[in-house]
Symmetry: C2
Subunit: 366 residues, 2 copies
């Protein structure tokens, strides 16, 4: 396997060892408070009986699976609680590929680098399908790319890095393409709580047995380190996913499952709305600075990333490092997300220092 | 994949739905208190800054890896913190098999059923090599079974289900066989804290670049649900294991890593000695009853299982269920551990009701 670790680490290390103060806009780690009930859940669990410290059911705590299922409107039997959305995607991809219905995976370009890595791990062939300039997906391009060899279409909405929120019609058409070529559509919806359009709809509403939805609490509860995610699979794939989950991990860790369950039950919509408002303000602040810097940029419909293009300053690793050294801002080079955004840089708005970073960029490029 | 979930679940479900009181001697879940510092670690973590709730390094918290490395006398770079020993074994097996040095895995008979399941998941061919009547391994049998096709020898010591502790000479010879056929020896030492002989030595002391050691804290800290394990790999395999770990799980959950680190630092040898003493007493109690029942049985040198053979009552699933219904004791049928112990039943001594179970068995068979 020739796969290398995502370039995230490389840029983060470079920024951390810089001689100057640098605003980190590389990592996707939320910087805000998790729900209060999550901390309460941890405290309560610390005093639990020894029996509560033992193996949960392999597919996840019964109460957590029921809670997730009720919220998603599906049968709990279709839910597998995983070690983060990362494992959920791995299981979904493996289950789709294990059907021996082809070895090709269709991904978007730009692409989240972990997807291509997982495809390689699973001996699949990744084909990148370009998205439009605004980040949206034209299903006709996927229809053109799909063939008998296609076993999986994997998309992320709201999208990292483009910020696009794919319409329900787009997702319906992608599911139809999957059906036509005997493939599976996996929708990674981990940013579903960060929808600024108010129009995002989960692919689960398509009610299609070709669709897997993956998600998790890393972003919505600001706990990327807890590793609590899940996959909702159709009946024909759920058994394979549960078996692989058991053989690889036995089960996901129990303390974070307990804490997330309590947070799910006790956190009201205001918590999520406040975070969205915070991000909306950061987007506006950052956009003003990009205007001042004369940059082209995406206004995210969802998630918490902004792609920006500065004239004569393409999104290479070299330029990302130059930006660290000369402007004190660390962003991800667009070339690490496939070929479609090689001219761009991605900035993650999960730092309280967005305003400072924005000022530095306006200064540097303005 | 035709793999089915281990029969553990089947027997546990049968016992749970029985019409009578049943002593559960099926699961491997410790019933005693975890170290006090572990609970303290959880409490402290509940109040940590949001930044402490985000992604740990993929291969594990730096301080935890250093702590493990110092205790095992290895370079921290060789340590990968995993989602329990289960993931550690999966990564070690995959890394050994990915070398394309054959697709055969040599396992002992009796065998821990997860090993055969993982071998199947990884498209490997499992060959079971019989152990001796006392549970020990005769390396000559492994030498006979090994060939160019062998890429991996995987053993568990102290052993589940036989209770055998393999000698250092045995492990050295297994490592030599691995070297001779260009294979890897994986030693799963998760029961290393449950050595009643005082003579157990880790395979890491062989200092061989053919050896991987896996372990974890599920048993030693009575936290099977926390999923904190690790693998110590030789330089030539550690990169592949880290890459797969990252692509499958991103990282192991952080809260349990923090709690285990504190427990490692603050728990003295007395804690482990007290648990060993408790188990020693349980073994003695149980052995007395088995004597009274006229059974043949193993006296474990390590781990916390006893294999027993009752005349005219072979270790079939049917008999395990009969024992639940007629004696009120749930044990694992020996036939689920390969073919070598089909006449036997395995009883896990991780229940405070060992004495009661023993009396019931003495009554039933006596």
């Amino acid at each position: 396997m020739t796969y290398e670790r995502p370039q995230f680490f490389h840029v983060m290390q470079y920024a951390a060892s810089a001689d100057r103060d640098v605003v980190d806009m590389v990592s996707g780690n939320p910087d805000w408070e998790p729900p209060a009930a999550l901390r309460d859940g941890l405290r309560e669990y610390a005093d639990a009986e020894p029996a509560e410290f033992q193996y949960p059911p392999s597919e996840g705590l019964v109460a957590l699976r029921k809670e997730i299922a009720a919220r998603r409107g599906v049968d709990p039997d279709r839910v597998v609680v995983t070690n983060g959305t990362g494992e959920a995607n791995y299981l979904a991809m493996a289950a789709a590929l294990d059907r021996d219905a082809g070895s090709e995976v269709l991904l978007t370009d730009p692409v989240y680098p972990y997807y291509t890595g997982k495809a390689e791990l699973l001996d699949a062939e990744a084909t990148l399908v370009p998205t439009e300039r605004d980040g949206s997906v034209d299903p006709a391009r996927f229809r053109e790319a799909a063939s008998d060899e296609t076993s999986l279409i994997l998309v992320n909405t709201p999208n990292n890095p483009t910020g696009a929120v794919y319409s329900r019609e787009t997702m319906r058409e992608l599911a139809a393409i999957a059906e036509d070529v005997d493939a599976t559509l996996v929708a990674d919806e981990v940013y579903d709580r960060f929808d600024f359009t108010g129009s995002f709809e989960s692919a689960l509403t398509l009610d299609s047995d070709r669709v897997v939805v993956t998600s998790g609490y890393s972003k919505s509860m600001a706990i990327t380190g807890f590793r609590v995610g899940y996959a909702v699979l159709p009946d024909r794939l759920v058994g394979a996913a549960k078996t692989r989950h058991m053989l690889v991990n036995v089960a996901a860790s129990r303390p974070p499952q307990v804490a997330v369950l309590r947070a799910l039950r006790e956190t009201d919509a205001d918590y999520y709305a406040r975070v969205r408002e915070l991000l909306r303000e950061r987007v506006a602040t950052f956009a003003d600075a990009l205007d001042a810097a004369g940059a082209e940029y995406t206004s995210p419909e969802g998630a918490f990333y902004v792609l920006a293009r500065f004239d004569g300053f393409p999104g290479t690793m070299g330029n990302a490092k130059r930006l660290v050294d000369e402007a004190g801002v660390a962003g991800m080079p667009g070339e690490t997300f496939g070929s479609a955004r090689e001219a761009w840089l991605r900035f993650a708005l999960v730092t309280p220092r967005v305003e400072e970073a924005a000022a530095r960029l306006a200064d540097y490029f303005g």
